[in-house]
Amino acid sequence: MDAFAKLPDAIAELVAEFSSTPVVGNLNVGLTQYSLWLLIAGVVLLAVIFAFVKKQSLAPKGFFVNGVEWVIEYVEDDIAKGVVGSNWRQHFPFLATLFFFILINNFIGLVPGMKPGTGAIGCTAAVALVSFIYFLYFGVKKHGLFGYLKSLAPAGVSFPMNIFVWVIEVFSLLLRLVTLAVRLFCNMFAGHIVMGSFAIMASIFAQPLLAHFSAMNAVGALPSVAWVLILLIIYAVELIVAFVQAYVFTVLSAVYIQIAEADAH
């Protein structure tokens, strides 16, 4: 099979496309293609939210207002009220911003030809760091620095063991930062790699047929129909994943805030 021989090179090319390359400046100072799309997504987000604020009324009308309202209510009821609890009003602005920022970035990435702002570890690490510092700040604010450090270890564990548990807890606390960033990045990255691979496979198998029409080439191009079908299914799954990842990131942040502010550990 000719097509299979071409595959590794094509996919290597695809992946090379996915690694960060600077558009302006270099990798240390400047903008890569991901940060560019992230900024575009930020502008889109601001436009969407302010358009919503302008159009919002006591009786919501139209698909746009109702849709955005539904999502905001979902964040409010399910994440803010459901997880954070009584003082959800204080944390709602952060959680809602987080959710919509990630959601818009994920969906922007799903438009063919565009990149997700959350598809690079640098961007997700920045968001995760903000979330990390946010819940640390509120934990320290509630319990005081020493009190918060002490509250990490569960109460009711005897002396030598609780230091051990405390070290593990601190380690898992730091791991939260890493997992938040890596989870979002890996989901976006892997999803786009898979979609790109199936798109490439479809085009490689169909290429001989486009170049020269013959019965042999037509039979050879049959698998590309299957690849396109799989691509469509994966695309649908990615639409769900885009939503779920934004939800997971926000819910986990909310849970961390709730744990940090909880009275007794």
Binding site: D78, G82, T179, V182, R183
Partner: protein
Amino acid sequence: MGVIGYGLGVIGAGLAIGLAAFGATSAMARQPEVQGRAFTVFILASAFTEALGLIGFVVTLIS
């Protein structure tokens, strides 16, 4: 080698997420009124489990 190790590691994470989904769906079937709460807990459990799989992914890339 790393890829094979990752594949082996993902078996565990996959089983864990499957178990979480099983528990969540049976909980929802038995008590549909706790659906929202069960779903949140399921997402959290999956996220923690997924973190293990992702650690495997990272280790694969680093080693």
